[in-house]
């Protein structure tokens, strides 16, 4: 059941991308506002950027739970 839901979610997310080609940004000011489905790209890129930041942070700032005790 959980796997089914995951697959359904992924399919829906992928289907979202082409729909973005039919919707224009109302106040396109910066160049990325004119790229279709830019929010989808932001979603993926943002997640990977944050995961990268977490990876870097944990490599030197992660200590045992009772570190300050």
């Amino acid at each position: 059941m959980e796997k089914m839901l995951k697959r359904l979610f992924i399919i829906l997310a992928v289907l979202c991308i082409p729909v973005g080609f039919f919707i224009e940004h109302e106040h396109a000011i910066f160049f990325w506002h004119k790229i279709p489905s830019i929010e989808a790209i932001f979603g993926i890129l943002g997640t990977f950027l944050l995961i990268l930041a977490i990876g870097i942070l944990t490599s030197f700032a992660q200590k045992k739970e009772d570190f300050y005790d």
């Binding site: 991308i17 910066f30 979603g43 739970e65």
Partner: protein
């Protein structure tokens, strides 16, 4: 006609009566006080009132305009909901601290001069620390001390700034500031309460250690009064706007790494306050509207999140995500309220966060700040991810060891009403737009590109989350923040005081005692001066002289040996102030 009073007065005087009441009467009373305060705010007329002359300056306790009114409304509304949430507790101290905290926050909001603002600012710090200490364990005691130390530092900066400002300008009225030493000191003072990076560490340190009900109050007032005073004194400062962007990203990054549910929420306060600070820092009408709208909305959903996690803690006794899971079956009301709050904070269409977050991001575009826009979008992605994490690991992850019941009725009612407010404003934002500081012109939240853009952002971020879930699984660890430097600095300072400085003091005392010993001996018998070298050599051999006066230079510092009652310190302070006043009046 009865004249409206400063709303702060209602809460502060209201707190005095709490210990005198018992049972149901007390419960009714503590709910009536915020209701009366709300009616009072409705009757406040724009302009300044309750002005008193003090040492040649005008103290203004009631400066009413659209900015102070909108913040005043939400402070009183959430005050009522938070009190409803904690109606089951029997501890008067918590109610009194909460009332003083809400009252002093309202005092800051309606203060028209820096002196009264500062006084309310300090009452706020002192009242709030008791909401941490009332948890009554070692962790909360220590966290409370760190919290108050940081706030005392911020308060000192603020006071120094106010004094310099008053001396140079000859006025104490709260107004826009221009770059000067006073400007920077006041900015540090305000920035500390607003959790500017890197002086934010008190927030994720202390808020998770507060009482279950106290953390709901804590999540609302300190940081939001900070945003309010920034909007009043520092609108349109680019540095402040970018600080907002940094806070937004920094907060979510650290939130994603947390295992303690309330610490995760605490880091999200920093992130969400970042949006508000960014809006205020842009300084445009839409930016300030967006920032203040976000204050209003954030107060609702952030308090709701703390209520939900408080309910989970109250019913299960667990606070770490790695120990939770599967609670949706046992606590459906809390689960639904938490999902509504999570969707609101993430900015999903139909929830209040969507309206105000969109306004702040749109104003970054309008103000031509591309980097800031990208930072705020990145923070949106992080917010969505961390609340997927929170809801999943708290309510849906498999955990067959846990069993629980739903929270008490008053907690459920408070959560239900707050969740309803989040949805209501999300669907009907006009009610919020009508009370914002500036008229909302040219901003329409429900455009196809905004709605669909947010859906796309979340769907694809969700896919990336599924693929990289292992990276954000909660695990037992401490993630060092800037407080590492403060703690190590504090330990270093303690070492300097207790080892080298203490040794120096002991050695000086030993030498002085020796001198006194020799002089006393000479005074008794001057001829014995000739015997001193012999006696000295003898005593050095037997080490007797090292203990003259009862002190040894080799003793380690014992803090209890020099500890005096706090009254001695207070007495010294009073004597000093009296002497200062005497000198001031005589000369």
């Amino acid at each position: 006609m009865i004249k409206a009073v400063p709303p702060a007065l209602i809460f502060i005087l209201g707190a005095m009566l709490i210990p005198l009441l018992k049972g149901k009467l007390k419960q009714v009373y503590i709910l009536v006080v915020p209701a009366v305060a709300f009616l009072d705010i409705l009757y406040l007329s724009p302009g300044t009132s309750w002005v008193y002359n003090f040492l040649g300056y005008d103290l203004i306790f009631c400066k009413v305009d659209r900015l102070s009114l909108v913040v005043g409304y939400i402070f009183v509304i959430i005050g009522f909901l938070a009190i409803l949430y904690c109606l089951h507790i029997k501890h008067d101290g918590q109610y009194i601290a909460a009332f003083l905290y809400v009252g002093s926050s309202l005092g800051v909001v309606f203060a028209g001069d820096y002196f009264s603002l500062f006084v309310f600012w300090e009452i706020m710090a002192v009242a709030s620390v008791f909401l941490i200490w009332f948890q009554k364990d070692k962790k909360s005691l220590n966290a409370g001390f760190r919290y108050i130390l940081m706030h005392i530092f911020g308060g000192c900066c603020l006071l120094a700034g106010i004094i310099i400002y008053t001396v140079s300008k000859g006025s104490i009225n709260v107004a826009l500031l221009e770059p000067s030493p006073a400007y920077w000191l006041i900015l540090i003072g305000f920035g500390l309460n607003t959790a500017f990076i890197p002086i934010h560490t008190w927030l994720p340190d202390a808020y998770p250690e507060g009482t279950i009900t106290g953390s709901v109050f804590l999540s609302v007032f300190t940081t939001k009064t900070g945003v309010y005073v920034l909007a009043r004194c520092f609108p349109g400062v680019e540095l402040v706007a970018y600080m907002g962007g940094i806070m937004a990203v920094y907060g979510v990054t650290f939130a994603l790494l947390q295992n303690d549910a309330r610490r995760l929420l605490a880091y999200h306060i920093i992130s969400q306050v970042g949006y508000m600070v960014a809006g205020v820092g842009m300084g445009t009408a839409q930016g300030i509207n967006g920032g203040i709208a976000h204050v209003f909305n954030n107060i609702l959903y952030k308090a709701l999140l703390f209520m939900c996690m408080g309910s989970v803690m109250y019913m299960t006794g667990r606070r770490k995500l790695s120990e939770m899971g599967g609670l949706a079956r046992f606590m459906p009301v809390t689960c639904i309220a938490c999902i509504i709050a999570a969707l609101s904070i993430s900015g999903a269409p139909g929830f209040n966060g969507f309206v105000s977050k969109g306004m702040v991001i749109a104003s970054a575009v309008e103000a031509h700040m591309p980097i800031l826009e990208l930072m705020l979008i990145l923070a949106s992605v992080g917010t969505f991810l961390s609340f997927v994490k929170l809801c999943y690991f708290c309510f849906f992850a498999k955990n067959y060891e846990i069993e629980s019941k739903e929270a008490p009725f008053n907690m459920q009612l408070a959560m239900g009403l707050t969740a309803f407010s989040c949805v209501f404003i999300g669907l009907y934002p006009k009610i919020l737009f009508d009370i914002l500081p500036y008229n909302v012109v040219g901003y329409h939240p429900f455009t196809p590109s905004h709605i669909f853009g947010v859906i796309q952002l979340f769907m694809l971020a969700g896919v990336a989350f599924i693929l990289a879930k292992a990276m954000v699984v909660p695990h037992k660890a401490t993630i060092l923040d800037f407080d590492y430097f403060y703690r190590m600095g504090g330990r270093g300072l303690l070492w300097v005081c207790s080892v080298p400085m203490s040794n120096f003091r002991t050695k000086s005392q030993v030498r002085l005692s020796r001198a006194v010993y020799i002089i006393a001996r000479l005074a008794r018998n001057p001829i014995s001066i000739l015997e001193i070298p012999t006696a000295y050599i003898y005593l050095r051999i037997t080490k007797g002289l090292r203990y003259v006066g009862g002190f040894s230079s080799g003793e380690t510092y014992d803090e209890n040996l020099y500890r005096r009652p706090i009254g001695v310190g207070v007495l010294l302070a009073i004597i000093l102030l009296f002497a200062f006043a005497l000198i001031y009046f005589i000369f």
